[in-house]
């Protein structure tokens, strides 16, 4: 069984609050969910929507059609009515919409009036709507009240009580006036876990990994990471600093990392562009650095609140000069969590910049997830540990032959530590010596790239034997690719998802594709250039025969991918 609920209205009407409450409630009733958000770059007005797909099987991506449209304003009916299935339902406030009578297709609820009756404020409309949805889906009102209490608990008892009254009014009205059982969910045991989005997963990963300092400049859609870490900062002794710009943010993080803490910054493409020189500084000074790029459509300001995967080339080449780096491209919240933990480990172990490439779709989409076993994720510090240890004379950039110079922390050893952005000697002093230069480049770049090839996060893939088509993607397309591949009737379609794109897992991809020697390879990307297809060819010699590309700022839906694959390849 599957139901998609879409809540739509103006910015400022509390659509996100309603969505988050319903997501939690659905999860607590034992259902699986995937919720994505479509919102505009404005605080009031416009049209935003929060789409929740509810299923008895795990769901990883959005679907096109809506079963229940909750329209908080007249415009939302006009915009989204076309997505509502024939047997679907449109819920609207009779005070604001053309439709005045409840029919099989329309259910009119006096949302504003019920809210006013509950507390005298339109502010409580959100809670009325939650009550309506609870009624339509036959959820346990008391269980949803507990969600409301968890979410509004901090706002004081009176606000909480009024919200609960409004919720119960909406629920009562629905049970009294809407008699269909079409959307009956009730309690089941299909799904479990917690409800988080990609930004929250990165934040939880950072806290677990021991990140002690997060500095960033607010930029959609990355700000949620800063807000989530800030929420837990006091409890975990973390400092979150809003920097004056992205250049300050990355340099603060480098300073903190040099002084011995795990530190991270996050931004979107424009901010990342400003950080380029800092990335290069981290590489030259061999200071561990973790940066999250939550991509949005560009160039320049682009679409601030929408999604794209066009920063792949930027991240591979960011920062002047040649040096080793790692780029992770998590496809799910689970991967975002575990790869963030790994990013801290790899950054510190190899003293390099590590990037986590997310995007708005992953960052803002909620799912019920079970986080990976944290015990399996290393948090070992890769520094000379003992306080006051005698390391004399200490050479920060010692040429050990291994590609790694043991890293000490200022004041932890009895000698001093020189870090330098100029080319430097083993001691860290400025040099122009040609031989030293060559050895240092080899250490920072080629030797570490070799070491990193043994730390590869492998691609995940469907069974590829006998597949006719193999979709290859990275990052947030993982879920939609996975679901679509299983849904193309009459064709054998497989996928390869790359959670790490640099160093490129060339051997791993080649090995996977050996199972499908006859298959057509198709890159699957949210960009216009087919950046992954070009990277794949460059690193493996394997050419894609086609690319499925989308760059309108919106994520792929399962239905859209299935239709595209059928249309393009069924005659092959």
């Amino acid at each position: 069984m599957e139901i998609t609920v879409r809540i739509a209205g103006e910015a400022g009407q509390g659509i996100q609050s309603i969505g988050r409450i319903i997501c939690r409630a659905i999860k607590r009733h034992g259902w699986n969910l995937f919720a994505d958000q479509d919102y505009m770059s404005r605080i009031r007005g416009g049209n935003n929507s929060f789409r929740i797909r509810i299923s008895d099987t795990p769901c990883l991506a959005p679907r096109e059609k809506t079963d229940i449209l909750i329209a908080l304003n007249r415009e939302s009916v006009a915009i989204h009515e076309g997505t509502v299935r024939k047997k679907g339902l449109i819920v609207a406030d009779e005070a604001t919409d053309d439709v005045t009578a409840t029919t099989l297709r329309y259910f009119n609820v006096p949302i504003g009036a019920l809210a006013k009756a509950s507390g005298g404020k339109s502010l409580y409309e959100n809670s009325v709507v939650c009550g309506v949805i609870t009624g339509l889906l036959h959820l346990d009102p008391d269980a949803v009240v507990n969600v409301l209490k968890d979410m509004f608990g901090k706002k004081g008892e009176e606000t909480g009580d009024k919200n609960i009254t409004a919720f119960r009014e909406g629920n009562r009205y629905t049970r009294d006036n809407y008699f269909s059982d079409a959307f009956h969910l009730g309690r089941r045991q299909y799904g479990d876990g917690i409800v988080i989005n990609g930004n929250e997963a990165v934040a939880l990963g950072a806290v677990h990994a021991g990140c002690k300092f997060y500095s960033a400049y607010p930029m959609s859609p990355s700000t949620g990471i800063m807000a989530s870490i800030a929420r837990f900062a006091k409890r975990f002794g973390i400092v979150v600093e809003q920097a004056e710009d992205e250049i300050a943010a990355i340099n603060m993080v480098i300073g903190a990392s040099y002084a011995g803490v795990r530190a991270m910054t996050g931004t979107s493409g424009g901010g990342f562009a400003l950080m380029g020189e800092g990335v290069s500084l981290a590489a030259m000074t061999e200071t561990p650095l973790v940066v999250v790029d939550v991509q949005r459509p560009a160039p320049a300001t682009g679409f601030p609140t929408r999604t794209e995967q066009a920063d792949l080339d930027l991240l591979i080449h960011a920062g002047h000069g040649e040096f080793a780096r790692v780029i992770y491209a998590p496809g799910t919240a689970e991967e975002a969590f575990s790869l963030t933990v790994k990013a801290f480990d790899i950054a510190e172990k190899y003293q390099i910049p590590v990037f986590i490439m997310s995007d708005q779709h992953l960052a803002d989409s909620y799912r019920n997830v079970t986080l990976p076993d944290v015990g399996a994720l290393s948090r070992q510090r890769h520094v000379i540990p003992t306080n006051g240890q005698s390391v004399h004379p200490y050479k920060r950039y010692a040429l050990t032959g291994s590609g790694i110079s043991p890293r000490a922390v200022p004041s932890w050893i009895d000698d001093v530590i020189y870090a330098d952005s100029d080319e430097h000697t083993e001691e860290g002093h400025i040099t122009e010596d040609a031989r030293i230069r060559t050895l240092m480049v080899q250490k920072r770049f080629t030797m570490r790239m070799n070491l990193l090839s043994k730390e590869m996060t492998p691609p995940s893939a469907s069974s590829l034997s006998r597949t006719e088509i193999v979709l290859v993607g990275f990052g947030s397309t993982c879920g939609v690719m996975q679901e679509a591949c299983g849904s193309v009737s009459g064709m054998n379609v497989g996928y390869i998802h790359l959670p790490q794109v640099w160093p490129f897992p060339a051997e791993e991809v080649r090995t996977l594709l050996e199972d499908a020697p006859e298959a057509k390879i198709v890159s699957f990307e949210n960009n216009a250039a087919g950046q992954l297809a070009r990277l794949l060819r460059r690193e493996t010699g394997i050419a894609c025969c086609d690319s499925i590309l989308k760059y309108d700022g919106r994520p792929f839906t399962v239905d859209e991918v299935v239709a595209t694959v059928k249309e393009r390849y069924s005659s092959l």
Partner: protein
């Protein structure tokens, strides 16, 4: 500890007679006065002649990017509040390339000391106008004389609420060392703008030119650096008389105090392998 303990063996690449030598001596002297040990001191610099100074000292050193010393110093101080963090920077590095950080680092008020080698010219790039070059000064780029009005760092700092604003002279090392020691002792952001003649590219503001004009503020026993209005006038005095000394001083809560960093062990000493996120994970259930 004596001055030699703070000396590094690195070869000094400044021009003979450079005003930077006086600053280097004064800084060693100040650290000896303060009783600091090299391993507990961090010198952070960006790019420029001033930014080379940390290499000539036996202290921890982070020589980063042009203009970016302040954010690096901020991050390091946050990570280890017990480090004595000193930034050695120049007029181009701090007031030009890093101008935005200068403004916001003062607002942030971390307990760091900033020593600006202010020679009113670009030394490393061979003699172009800096943010503090006097109007009309001719260079190979500013052929008709510098057009821009100079930035007034001391007045700017006072306006931004900086709790320690001082001017020193690299030709008066003993006095400068005292200012540096006072700046380090001050809890919060301390700015010491140092008049530092560039013997290669600034042919106006020479040692002789300064010696004729510089006087110590302390000679005026009436002067009260807590008086903000008077401090503005003192900061702006730039004529046949130029004051050096502590121009403005006010106690302000530091970033470390306001954020709670002061109340816990240095962040870099927190154990990370015992962190348990289970309690926050359940908040998402």
């Amino acid at each position: 500890m004596n001055e030699h303990d703070f000396e590094s063996g690195d070869e000094i690449a400044w021009c003979p007679g450079c005003g930077d030598f006086g600053i280097l001596s004064a800084l060693k002297d100040a650290l000896v006065q303060l009783g600091r040990t090299p391993r507990n001191v961090l010198l952070v610099s960006g790019i420029g002649q001033a930014a080379k100074l940390p290499h000539y000292m036996n202290c921890n050193c982070f020589n980063g990017l042009h203009g970016r010393a302040l954010p690096v110093a901020t991050g390091a101080k946050i990570a280890n509040k017990d480090l004595t963090v000193i930034v050695t920077t120049g007029d181009g590095d701090c007031y030009g390339e890093g101008g935005n950080h200068f403004i916001h680092a003062i607002r942030r008020n971390c307990d760091i000391t900033v020593v600006v080698h202010d020679n009113q010219i670009y030394g490393l790039t061979k003699g172009q106008a800096s943010p503090t070059t006097e109007p009309g000064y001719v260079t190979k780029v500013q052929l008709s004389g510098t057009v821009l009005e100079p930035l007034h760092p001391l007045e700017t700092a006072i306006a931004l609420g900086c709790g320690f604003v001082a001017r020193g002279f690299s030709g008066d090392m003993h006095h400068l060392a005292g200012l540096m020691a006072a700046g380090v002792r001050h809890k919060g952001f301390a700015l010491i703008d140092v008049l530092q003649p560039c013997v290669s590219f600034n042919h106006k503001n020479t040692f002789a030119w300064y010696r004729e004009r510089v006087y110590r503020i302390e000679e005026d026993t009436e002067y009260d650096p807590a008086d903000k209005t008077y401090a503005y006038r003192m900061a702006a005095e730039w004529s046949d008389k130029i004051p050096v000394g502590i121009i403005y001083r006010a106690a302000r809560p530091t970033y470390e105090e306001k954020t709670g960093i002061d109340g816990m062990p240095p962040l870099n000493q927190h154990e990370i392998d015992t962190i348990d996120i289970e309690t926050i994970v359940t908040e998402y259930a």
